[in-house]
């Protein structure tokens, strides 16, 4: 049962995970670990060319694996498959690696090549049948997962005019979102009668979009709202009538709902929407901020929501916060990663 977000709350530091010898770029919680007796598991990607896998053990966290092959440059991002058994890692060396996790061991079972330069992000779709990657080469690649850990390129999506920073599949529909240095978010979907994918919508300045690099995006648990963060110092909330799309009414476009400005004074690198509706942001001012929808005095009705700052954790790290990720299993548990090489685990709780 979720507690109301009232009273004085604090983000309490539970653990500091050290081990990486360079900045930590990104974090990924294993989606099946952390419940039913399976200890929580977290993967971190670093400029030291490795991925570390951390596992909770009682109150502590241990590093249970260091994946130091095959990447020859910074590992920029990683993502677990929905079943939790595969981990995809992507690197500045222009490749993606697929790891199989079985009985505590990690084996590299496949390497995907194709991008021309630094790969920035990777994402699995909801069913684990498709993988998406994006790169500084401005393209987004979609791969199909075949039996025997084979991967086949389904489509190379071109449309962004600059470095693509992140890709993220919709939480339950096979629609892909990408955001870029070109200030836009693009939405990609498969053609009805062919294997081809194309851009169905671009969220740019003309649709109240960002005016600078869009670094990340995240969906709410219902999948009908999305938050984006940018170098323009704002967070933007977008909405789609996704229920219509689900019943086959055709593509439901995303529309700007509101902009959260004035809360950040440095670039916002990461944003993540928790299952219980809290938006966490990580920024270049070393701080973590939490936002929730402002439900007080909602006179105007649900059509004009507003958000309020729940909490600002200054000096969360010693340097830029590159990634914030809520655990999908344990409520109010947040992990953050920084240029300072550290990873921190936080718990949002009432001040005792």
């Amino acid at each position: 049962m979720e507690e109301a977000l009232e009273g004085n709350l604090e983000l309490k530091e539970i653990q500091r995970l050290e081990g990486h010898s360079d900045r930590v770029w990104s974090l990924a919680w294993n989606p099946v670990a952390g419940a039913a007796g399976v200890p929580a598991m977290l993967a971190s990607s670093s400029g030291d060319k490795t991925v570390r896998v951390w596992q909770q053990s009682g109150r502590d966290w241990d590093c249970v694996a260091v994946l130091d092959e095959p990447h020859t440059r910074t590992v920029r991002s990683s993502a677990w498959s929905p079943c939790g058994k595969l981990l995809a890692t992507v690197s500045f060396d222009a490749t993606a690696a697929i790891w199989k996790h079985a009985g505590g061991d990690f084996d590299c079972v496949s390497t995907l090549e194709g991008h021309e330069n630094e790969v920035k992000s990777v994402s699995w779709n909801a069913s684990g049948s498709l993988l998406a990657t994006c790169s500084r080469d401005k393209s987004v690649w979609i791969w199909e997962v075949l039996p025997g850990n084979e991967f086949e390129c389904v489509s190379v999506l071109q449309g962004h005019t600059q470095d693509v920073k992140m890709v993220q599949w919709h939480p339950f529909l096979d629609i892909l979102f990408s955001c870029s240095y070109d200030n836009t978010v693009k939405v990609w979907a498969e053609d009805i009668d062919s294997d081809d994918w194309h851009c169905v919508q671009t969220l740019g300045e003309s649709n109240n979009g960002h005016s600078s690099t869009v670094w990340a995006l995240s969906f709410n648990s219902a999948g009908d709202e999305m938050v984006t963060c940018s170098d323009d110092l704002t967070l933007k909330i977008w909405k789609s009538e996704i229920q219509k799309q689900q019943v086959g009414d055709g593509y439901a476009p995303w529309k700007h709902l509101c902009t959260l400005s004035g809360y950040h004074d440095r670039t916002i690198f990461s944003v993540h929407w928790s299952r219980d509706g809290i938006i966490a942001s990580g920024a270049a001012d070393d701080a973590i901020r939490l936002f929730v929808e402002n439900k007080d005095g909602q006179v105007d009705g649900p059509s004009s929501p507003s958000y309020k700052l729940l909490l600002k954790k200054e000096k969360a790290h010693d340097m830029d916060v590159n990634s914030v990720q809520w655990s999908s299993k344990e409520t109010r548990l947040l992990a953050s990663a920084s240029d300072d090489g550290a990873i921190k685990i936080w718990k949002l709780e009432s001040i005792s």
Partner: protein, 147 residues
């Protein structure tokens, strides 16, 4: 090709036979313009021919490379039709069609070449091939054939 008339050329009526002599400086301007125009036209033709040859070679070489790859892949498929997945087979077929229908006499060729390069990248990636055509610019760099 007739040289263009120098702009602002005065017009003399038939009875004014002294007109061009009186306007001698104007006559010289006309001659100079005509000679300059003809010279420029000749050198432009030469430049255009050279550009055309260069471009034609580049396009031909790249098309030939893709044709060669497709021929090898099709040969493999003749030996074992199931050695490649249906998606890869479809892309090879589409690539072959793009080459067969390539508009060699059309200057607006960049689109088709881009499609070919894309299909080639997809097929190579799926086959795990580290095969690259050395000639073409990467999409991360500025596009465009210089001509």
């Amino acid at each position: 090709m007739e040289p263009n008339q120098c702009p602002n050329q005065p017009i003399y009526s038939d009875s004014d036979f002294l007109g061009p002599t009186v306007d001698l400086d104007e006559t010289h301007i006309q001659e100079g313009y005509r000679d300059g125009f003809n010279d420029a036209l000749q050198s432009k033709n030469q430049e255009e021919r050279e550009s055309g040859l260069k471009l034609g070679f580049q396009v031909g070489e790249e098309l030939g490379f893709y044709r060669g790859c497709i021929d090898v892949w099709n040969s493999a498929l003749e030996i074992d039709p199931n050695c490649l997945s249906s998606r890869v087979k479809k892309n090879i077929k589409l690539m072959g069609e793009l080459i067969d229908e390539y508009p060699v006499l059309d200057a607006k060729i960049v689109d088709v070449m881009d499609q070919l390069r894309l299909k080639f990248k997809m097929i190579s990636a799926s086959l795990g091939l580290k095969l690259e055509y050395d000639g073409y610019p990467k999409s991360s760099e500025e596009q465009g054939l210089d001509f």
